[in-house]
Symmetry: C2
Subunit: 114 residues, 2 copies
């Protein structure tokens, strides 16, 4: 009974994460906040999705992480995009955009007059 509400993110989450890190180094919580902010709340990142995704992304060497301390004195794990992450992001983003255009065009098909 999934895909009732969220779950649209399938396959897009890592792309969004990489994009957020393209603009600035961030910690996990900050990534989620950033995405929710720029989409004005229409994309909500669950922590149970986020942290495993960050693991996978780090395993693939698209980001590196290091412990740090936030402004408010909390310990945070800060992620930084690697060069290969940057490359990958570029490729992945265009691929996704192409895909989205294809799907959109299908959805806009109208009955032919045949």
């Amino acid at each position: 009974m999934a895909r009732e509400k969220g779950d649209l993110l399938q396959g897009t989450l890592s792309l969004l994460i990489l994009k957020s890190l393209m603009l600035q180094d961030l910690h996990g919580y900050g990534i989620a906040r950033w995405i929710e902010d720029v989409t004005r709340g229409s994309l909500l990142i669950e922590e149970g999705s986020l942290y495993p995704a960050l693991r996978r992304i780090e395993d693939r060497a698209w980001v590196t992480s290091s412990w740090s301390v936030s402004d408010t004195g909390r310990r945070i794990r800060v992620y930084k995009l690697t060069r290969s992450g940057r490359t990958h992001l570029r490729a992945d983003a265009t691929e996704w955009l192409t895909f989205a255009r294809a799907v959109t065009s299908v959805l806009q098909q109208e009955p032919s007059l045949a």
Copy 2:
């Protein structure tokens, strides 16, 4: 090691199938052909994805199916969109479009001047 090539379809396949049936009744093979045609080959539907997806969709009563015979004399299973399938398609399509716009807007973010 997935998501290397395809696998973009995640969560979109049933939407595309429903859309194809919105315009005309089709059999499985015909659905795949139609989608590949209207996207000029950029969306390829694997049979191993298609038939299971059709099963799920029929289980949810979004389509009904019946055996028939094609123009060339082959036995085919023809799918027809139900009323609830139509309703669902409408909701799902707008939801997906909204989602895609959100993702696109994220991907187009540029560094702020802060």
